[in-house]
Symmetry: C2
Subunit: 373 residues, 2 copies
């Protein structure tokens, strides 16, 4: 266990009573908290202007730029949380793994990891210690963000171990991650070692964001949906648990609470197209689960026994729809979210790049107005 | 209603008592029927040799070549059904829609369909009648196949209307078909018209294969998994129903049956990553449902009330695993399949191109040996 310093936004009482933190603690706040996955980024003209000429990973590692990009959507939309601007491959890059972002394709790894020997080399050449030693730009960016955010919490984020491993095994993005899913059966020992390594990297990355000032942490398992339920349980879930434990061992005391009990930093788990793993995700024990747009929140909540705060799940397909259709959808999502102990309104997936930012601002206002009806 | 001629493999009694047809009728046959999605194609060296120099769509439209490719895996593996070698975009191409297969990307449509005017033009310029007039090569290929197949049934196949529409709206393959999913909300009327058109094309294509000699028909909704349950029900399912009705109105009489009752040609529905739509697919009323690798067949069967024959669902990630692991997985799938009224063994997805054909042959033999234990 590690106790966060009294200057941390949670421990200092700045964000402890925010709508987001309260909702993650399972207490329905006065105001429906709203934020959008990928709110920091391509949908904003001020982002495109700032980023012009700077490669993606360089922007993530420039503390001033990363902080500014993280803050832009908070200023513009009035969302209830900032999400740290980063990329899922940043912990790998900081640990020294060679990676390039290729336009129209995504991150590409020139040396895919496909054999036990590849795994061996990877773990030996790029230990978590390398990431720890290179983490300063991340900590600095988080500190810059939280210095400006005041009562608005920052959410730290990291890709889950499976998603990181799938990138490395495939050598880049792939449709169904078959090479990665095959490795766990052709060489279960090498797979286990790879996942343990990725879990530690992912954990160190999240831990750094939280200890530097993030008030919550979201683990994105972008590609878990391609796994069978059996493979997820046997070959993946323990590594996500390891990553989350790295964050949950950071404790803080809510200055407004009477009992002064230490509690873990709130966590959120999110995956997409992974309806069949919902109950497995619940066993990871995060404070809240993000639900994509595929099933309504009341159905998800019923499957979880009604006890898990949920985040989501506006269907991005409505973002270009006429206002009337979008508002009807928003009302449905808010209504369905009432069946969970608490609800954090979000999209069921990241903001599509072509989204009109005005629509996002409108959604925040309408959600705040409708959230208390 | 149309009665299939007495020369049709079903009506003539050649395939009516095959393990596949019996299983689709919900009767557990003496032998566990086995076939593999995409068994006809890239995993076979004899296919690569035959196709060398012939573009994909040309191969599909050359009756002799399409027939030979359809037959190759039946000869090599001893599977219990042939699947017609074709491509999901063939009905579009035959209706005169411009399409190119781009290596490493898939089918690309130079004129994407994104507005009501685009839909209008598409429907006016490429009516289902154009497909009917161009269908001869498909009928001829099916006739060539069934003339050689004897007691082994041929399964006809078509892409479902949503999958066809998604290709057209996106202009090619896409990660989550957001443009298509948005169109149904930005312009529901144009969407409805597009889906009705696609449903008719898909229906005509399947009907042609069945009337020419296929003993069953599988509708592939490759991309339905990206839809919310609500959108599937409201904006997609009626069109799949229309396509299926085109096939089910073809009736035949089992010569071995005492009552001489006319019955529809058996149908299978398959989608991938669509666990959240399982109950919706059941409402389409196909004889069997294909299940991908994500959940075990006993879980799927329980959700369906135990009354639906299931097809699937070997995890392709095991195809490169050591024999012992693959056999253990095969045994599990066969065991789980016993909870359904009948089971057609298949992969939970198409054969990956890099699959060792020997492994597929081995699977057929082991499945036949284990299927009766």
């Amino acid at each position: 266990m590690n106790i966060l310093p009294a200057t941390h936004p949670l421990a200092a009482g700045r964000t402890a009573s925010s709508a987001l933190v309260r909702a993650l603690q399972g207490v329905r706040p006065d105001r429906l908290p709203v934020w959008f996955m990928r709110q920091a980024g391509r949908s904003l003209p001020e982002y495109r202007q700032l980023r012009a000429g700077t490669p993606m990973l360089d922007a993530c590692l420039d503390p001033e730029m990363a902080a500014e990009i993280t803050l832009q959507p908070v200023r513009r939309h009035g969302v209830d949380a900032a999400i740290f601007f980063s990329d899922i491959v940043i912990p790998l890059k900081l640990a020294g793994v060679e990676v390039d972002i290729v336009a129209g394709r995504g991150p590409v790894f020139p040396r895919p990891v496909r054999t036990a020997a590849d795994v061996e080399r990877l773990c030996a050449e790029h230990p978590a210690e390398s990431l720890r030693q290179a983490i300063a730009p991340i900590r600095e960016a988080v500190q810059r963000v939280t210095a400006e955010l005041g009562a608005t919490p920052l959410i730290g984020f990291a890709g889950a171990p499976f998603t990181l491993a799938a990138y490395l095994v495939e050598g880049g993005p792939s449709r169904d991650h078959l090479r990665a899913r095959a490795l766990m059966h052709t060489d279960p020992e090498a797979w286990k070692r790879l996942l343990a390594w990725a879990a530690e990297l992912s954990g160190v990355f999240l831990e750094a964001q939280v200890s530097a000032g993030a008030s919550a942490a979201q683990l994105f398992d972008s590609w878990a949906g391609s796994l069978s339920a059996r493979d997820y349980t046997a070959h993946v879930s323990p590594s996500s648990m390891h990553t989350l434990e790295r964050v949950r061992q950071l404790r803080w005391v809510d200055p407004a609470s009477a009992d002064g009990e230490e509690q873990p930093v709130p966590t959120i788990h999110f995956a997409v197209g992974a309806d069949h793993l919902l109950e497995d995700f619940a066993r990871l024990g995060t404070n809240a689960l993000g639900i994509d747009w595929r099933i309504p929140l009341d159905e998800a909540s019923a499957r979880l026994g009604g006890g898990v705060p949920l985040q989501g799940n506006l269907n991005p397909a409505f973002l270009s729809a006429p206002e009337q259709a979008l508002e009807a959808h928003l009302r449905e999502v808010i209504q369905a979210g009432r069946s969970a102990p608490a609800h954090v309104l979000n999209l069921g997936h990241g903001v599509p790049p072509e989204t009109d930012p005005e629509v996002l601002s409108w959604l925040v206002q309408r959600a705040h107005a409708l959230g208390n009806i």
